[in-house]
Each structure stands twice: as structure tokens, then as C-alpha cells.
Symmetry: C2
Subunit: 371 residues, 2 copies
């Protein structure tokens, strides 16, 4: 969908003449009340569920969660996935033409925040004729957007579902983002963010960024279980005694993930989205008091965290829970004992999916939605 009118951004800049890519699943009911907005995290897109005809391995990133008869049942709910501004999966981003200059944005794409994304999503809903959402949901950075919705448009959502999320990044979270950004920015092929014009991609930096990311998505436990100290060429028996060859399975896995990512992800998008993560901090304008910051929220909340997630640890979700309780908000909280670290929010864990299913069944009953 094209938006001609300029969107004012938190930075004071604005963006005009932009597109948002989105997908929908299920049917909007006559009352236009059954819509569920799904917000994506760092490297995902509007393609949250289903498969593309004739394309193998094209499952949406929350395919295990969303679909007919699934936890978020598209026989009952109208689900909307939207690719955020600045991303690289169809919505306007750094690789597109800046209408003000006629040149590719590159590093000149304005810095966008979680709050900006929420504003852009709200305009999309306006255009779709949807005033009130049954729910906004997301994992990780997507959960931050759901929280942003509850604060920016408190009257436009009934429920906010935050999975593996946090009220802001810790210093360590910011540190990992910063190292990844430095790897990209100092890659000689980055060309100050205008690499498109040079016909190159800063793949070295993207690979390093993705390898760092992957380490933080997994738990130490699951890494030890999946890879441990296994050698890649175990049949050799002994080490290769090499500093550069792949020796351990975990090295092979990380290099593969890095290579794959560098082939499809935009470097400027990586910078923008990690910065949006860094900047999100609703308590900031309330002297760091999250309870004060969340006083505006009217939605009911479901929060889910995972025991081995050290990127957005359960303690971070509990901060939100406490702040909501301080405001006597209606909330459910589930801490799932799962070995998979932060990645668990994307995986097919029956207890996790059961919690979400039961919550959405409750929304259905409350709203008297019939499949």
C-alpha cells in the first residue's frame, strides 16, 4: 500500500511517498473487530504465516503459531502482518529511491523508531478501515511494538501480547548491537552506507553481525546439546591444528548462518533496526519509572518469556508485569521452561503455543467471535 502523505518521525524528520508491504490471513468480520496485528522482529517480514504456492520452505516466520485451527486461529481472527519502514522485504527502505533527491536512500534513510513503526502501522489500519484491534502481538522487538501500541493508541487495541520481550535494552544488549554495527560500518565495502552505487555489498560485516546475533539467540545449553565440542570432520580423529579452517561443528553452523544472511539482508536495514531496538525505552520520559510510563495503557496483556533466554531474560518481562500490576491492569504471564534461548519464541513448543491458544480462545469468547 502506498502512502503519499509524509509521516512525521520521532527524530523530527519525516518520510513521504512510502510503501508498506503487508499480508492478511482469514476474514475481517462485519464488525471489523477481529483483526490481530502481528509485528516482526529484526530480520523477519510481513510474511508471518502460510506458504507461497509452489515455493518450498516458504513458511511464514510464525507459521507454527498462526493459521486455521492454530493458536492464533485464522478461522476466527483476521491476522495482519506488516513489514516495517526501513526493512528490506518490500516496504520502503534504504535500498529504495528517496523521492526528495531521486537517489537511493542508502545511509540517508531516516532513523526510525518503534514508535514510528507503530504510527505507520496505525495509518495502514486506518486505510484498511480498522479502528480497533482485537490484539497486537509480537516477539522480541515485535513485543516492543505491541507495548508501543498500548501506549500510543491505548484505545485502539483490546489486547497486547508480548513474547520474549523487554521494556528496553540493557547495556549488554546495546553492546552486542554496537559490535555488529561496527563490523558492518567498518567493512570497506560499506562505503559509508552508499554501497549500492558501488555495486558491492558489505558481506563481511553482515556475516559477523549475524554470527554474533546467532550466539545471543541460542542458550548455552542448546548450543552444547546441538553442537557441543563436536568436530566437523570427526572421522579424522585428531584436530587439524589450524586457526582458520573449520574445526568445530559450531563454527560451521555460524559461518553458514552468516553467509546465508549476508546474501539476503540489507546492511543499512541492519543498522536501522538495531538502533530502533537501542532507542526503545518508554520509561525514559518518566524518569525511568516504567510504572508511570505504562499508566496510559488500557489493553489487557499476555506476556510470555522463556527460562533460558539470556538476550531478553524472563526478569525483563517481569519488569513489565510489575509495572502493569502497579497500574492494576489485567494481565496473564507465562514463563516457559524451554532450553532454546531467545529463539524459543519462534519454535513449536506445545506449552508455549498452548498458553497463546488459550489466551486467544479467551479473546474469542470475550468478543463472542465464532469461527
Amino acid at each position: 500500500m502506498h502512502f503519499a502523505a509524509a509521516l512525521p518521525l520521532q527524530s523530527g524528520r519525516s518520510i513521504r511517498g512510502y510503501d508498506l508491504s503487508f499480508e492478511t490471513y482469514g476474514q475481517l468480520n462485519a464488525a471489523r473487530s477481529n483483526a490481530v496485528l502481528v509485528c516482526h522482529a529484526l530480520n523477519a517480514s510481513h510474511h508471518v504465516a502460510g506458504v507461497y504456492a509452489g515455493q518450498d520452505k516458504s513458511e511464514g516466520w510464525w507459521h507454527s503459531m498462526i493459521g486455521p485451527g492454530k493458536a492464533v486461529d485464522t478461522d476466527r481472527f483476521f491476522v495482519i502482518g506488516v513489514n516495517n519502514l526501513g526493512s528490506c522485504f518490500g516496504s520502503t527502505g534504504p535500498m529504495h529511491i528517496n523521492p526528495d533527491t531521486g537517489r537511493v536512500y542508502g545511509a540517508d534513510f531516516p532513523v526510525v523508531t518503534v514508535e514510528d513503526w507503530v504510527d505507520a502501522q496505525a495509518r495502514l489500519l486506518d486505510a484498511l478501515g480498522i479502528r480497533t484491534l482485537a490484539a497486537v502481538m509480537g516477539g522480541s522487538l515485535g513485543g516492543m511494538q505491541a507495548l508501543g501500541w498500548a501506549l500510543q493508541y491505548p484505545e485502539r487495541l483490546r489486547h497486547a501480547v508480548l513474547v520474549a520481550s523487554a521494556p528496553n535494552l540493557t547495556a549488554e544488549n546495546i553492546a552486542f548491537n554496537e559490535v555488529a554495527r561496527r563490523a558492518i560500518v567498518t567493512d570497506p565495502d560499506f562505503h559509508a552506507g552508499h554501497f549500492y552505487a558501488h555495486g558491492v555489498l558489505p558481506k563481511r560485516g553482515l556475516r559477523i553481525a549475524r554470527m554474533i546475533g546467532h550466539i545471543t539467540y541460542l542458550s548455552d545449553d542448546v548450543m552444547n546439546e546441538k553442537f557441543g565440542r563436536q568436530l566437523r570432520d570427526a572421522a579424522m580423529g585428531d584436530y587439524k591444528y589450524s586457526t582458520q579452517e573449520v574445526e568445530f561443528q559450531i563454527e560451521s553452523y555460524l559461518r553458514y548462518q552468516g553467509d546465508k544472511f549476508a546474501d539476503y539482508f540489507d546492511a543499512n536495514t541492519y543498522l536501522l533496526i538495531t538502533r530502533a531496538l537501542d532507542y526503545f525505552d518508554p520509561a525514559r520520559n518518566y524518569g525511568g519509572d516504567l510504572s508511570l510510563a505504562l499508566a496510559r495503557a488500557q489493553a489487557k496483556f499476555l506476556l510470555v518469556s522463556f527460562s533460558t533466554d539470556w538476550r531478553f531474560a524472563p526478569a525483563r518481562s517481569r519488569e513489565i508485569v510489575r509495572a502493569l500490576l502497579d497500574n492494576r491492569r489485567d494481565l496473564s504471564y507465562a514463563e516457559i521452561d524451554a532450553p532454546h534461548g531467545h529463539d524459543a519464541f519462534l519454535l513449536d513448543d506445545p506449552r508455549y503455543l498452548g498458553v497463546v491458544r488459550s489466551y486467544f480462545e479467551g479473546i474469542g469468547r470475550e468478543m463472542e467471535l465464532v469461527p
Copy 2:
């Protein structure tokens, strides 16, 4: 000290005509029985204690631990610090001339292991006329060398002191090493490890490697306490809305650490030492059974770990403790409640230093050493 004879290495290669830099503190007694060998970790050297005359900030890396009247009292013990082969602080390493080719080693420097370092240290002690050590001690990778000593030369040491150490690296530990190595190796200035000949240094890669390292040395807690979400230019009030400028204090700190490190540390040394860490695994030849592997050890042990160290967590020290107990070895173990993460082993924590002091006082009594 120069060593003309070739040292056979675990890889099957050997190295000849090499030098080891070392420092000593205190006096070797007449019985030659009061020597304590101190082994260094990734980026340290033989300069473990004391200051160089006329040089500000030249304290040895374990200056708070070792010296006259300190926990390891050099009025009583003869302390030896040695720079390992392949390092970049005086001992023969990748930036030196390979006597076989007449050219700088660079990436051709042989891969050295913890076991190789222990062998080289043993030869140094032979040359110094020291048959038996009162103790071998080290933190982190240095602790692995102390453990290596107990297994390779069980009759040559009375005590092994392992601080913040581990019996091997986990998959996550290896993963962080691998990302750091890839950052270095893929830096265009690395030139396949022969950058010396090109008059350049792979500083981009070294900076990234060091930034990653620093994150893993600190605990999430101490990072939040020291840096939290503080802005570097807090007086500005608002964010800069920039992906590349320094916004948060933690970014400034990491960039500074990266820059400093890239100015003095050798890239090939970084690869070699992280690989030595990856490879160390005494249980490997015993089907993964650490208790079997440690059956050879005769020394008495002190192990110390720190509660917030997530790089070499207390659980890893406890694995060694259990394996030693299975072998009915004499050991002391202290788990220090300290907020500083892995870095705690270098810091001036009174409980930590108290434990080491008391242990070395015990050695002094046992050996009837008088100051």
C-alpha cells in the same frame, strides 16, 4: 632466554631457535623449592607484578595479587612470569623471523596448544635449575595451563591454583572465539596473515574481536551498573537519531577498548591463543571422562570461581572439583560472590585475595618457608 633445541609440538610440527621472555620476583631459596609459576591468559604477558621504573601505569596484570606482603608473597615465594610461545610480548611469535625460511612467520607460525606452552615452560624451569614448583597458578586460560601442568608433569608441582577456569570451552565459548577470528581473517588488511609484509595491520578485525571479548568478560550486572543506558552526551537531552555516531556510553567504552587493543596486539597471536583455548580438553583422550583424565594429577588444588562469570561459569570449575574428588585429591574450592563477571579474576576483591592469601600461607607452613 634462548632455546636452540627444537620443541616438538602437539600438532606434530616443531619450533626451534625460539626465545621466551620471563620475569621473576623475590628470591629462589637454597633448596630451590619456593618457585611459583604464573601462567597468563589471552592478552597478558610475563609482566605479572611490579612496575617498571619511570613508567606510569606499568603495573603487572596480577599486581594486586603478587608482591611483597601480598596474597602471593614474594618475600617468601620466588614468582616466575613467562610470556607464552606465539604471544606478542617478547617471546617468539608470528611477528618474528622463522629460522627455517629467514622470513617473518606470520600465519605460518605453528599452532601451539596449552600442552605445548606447558612443555616450553618446563624447559625454562630446567634452565633455571628448578625441578619442583611450590605452585603453578593462573586465571582463565592461565588456569588451563596450571591444570595442564598437573597432568603433564604431575611430580613437578606441589600445588595447582586455577582461578576462573574451565576444563574445556563450551560451544558458546568457541562460538565467540570463532566470530572474533572471522572478523580478523576477513579484514582485507589481514592478507592471509602476512600483513607485516604489506605494511598494514588488520585493525578493523582486531577492534571487533576485542569488543566481543570485552562483552564476555563483564557481567550483565556490572555493565548495567557502570554504563546502563547512559548517553554519552547526556547534556543534549534527546537522542541523536544516528546509527553510526556514539550514542550510549557503553558504545564509547567498547570502541575505546577496541582501538587501544588494535594498537598493541598482534592479529596472528589472537588467532593462535583463541585456538589454544578451543583445543584444550584434557578429557578428550578419555572418552570425555574428566575424572579419568585427572587421575594422573598428584598436586593439591585451589580452585576459585566468580558468581557472575558467564564466560567460565562456576559450574565449569565445579566440574574440575568433582573430577578431583572422584580421584580423592586434596582440594579447596571457593566460589566468590562478585559482580564483575570473568574480569573479577584480575580485580582487587578482598574475599578473593583473602582466599588465595590463606592458601599460600598454608603452602608456606607446609613447606616451612620463612619470609
